[in-house]
Symmetry: C2
Subunit: 125 residues, 2 copies
């Protein structure tokens, strides 16, 4: 597999996560009464986060349009831990959505966004 293919893949996966987050915030803000759908979007984000480390193999640093910092590889364990944190936060949001607990959904969405932000600050240019 070409290194560029991994970069293209992870950028698409993260873009899809962003699209799921937009859908989730519209639902959590009450713009859309789609709680059942919110759980599916949160689960989709969890699935992507669980796939993320596999999309950053050795040898795909500093190429093509990657914005991944070298620390993704020098601190690989921390990177994996951050991906797990996002996956877990997304699953917590899915549970709140399934339970129809809108107050909890708001907190869980903010917590999920926080895990994305934290990982981006450390690992993205």
């Amino acid at each position: 597999a070409s290194p560029e293919a991994y970069v293209e893949y992870r950028k698409q996966a993260l873009k899809a996560s962003g699209d799921h987050m937009k859908a989730l915030s519209a639902i959590v803000k009450g713009q859309l009464p789609l709680n059942a759908e919110a759980a599916k979007h949160a689960e989709a984000i969890a699935a992507i986060m669980e796939s993320l480390p596999a999309a950053f193999p050795e040898g795909t640093a500093g190429i093509a349009k990657t914005e991944a910092k070298a620390v993704v590889w020098s601190k690989a364990d921390e990177f994996k831990a951050d991906a797990v944190k996002s996956a877990d936060a997304a699953k917590a949001l899915a549970q709140a959505a399934t339970a129809g607990d809108t107050a909890q959904m708001g907190k869980a969405l903010a917590a999920l966004g926080g895990t994305c932000k934290g990982c981006h600050e450390t690992f993205r240019e």
Copy 2:
């Protein structure tokens, strides 16, 4: 919920599906040895397809940037059936990916793409 919010929501959900399809085709073409991840992308598409009908309520035809044809509502049952077809095709792809059956993954991805195409021909401008 404003009609525009539903249009924005479904466009994002379908864009995320497209991103998942791009990831899947890179994997199925052997550009990326990420079969385990392929199952997650296929499951994400299935989840979105199961949510789709809820994103097309009455009163959201012909507004904002929607490309949905009026037939989405005049043939609502057929529209729902097409969404189910896509969800089922995505789940079949997820199973092939989990089984690591690359030949079957290729067939299942083509079949999934066919269900998207069929629905777009009937229901999208």
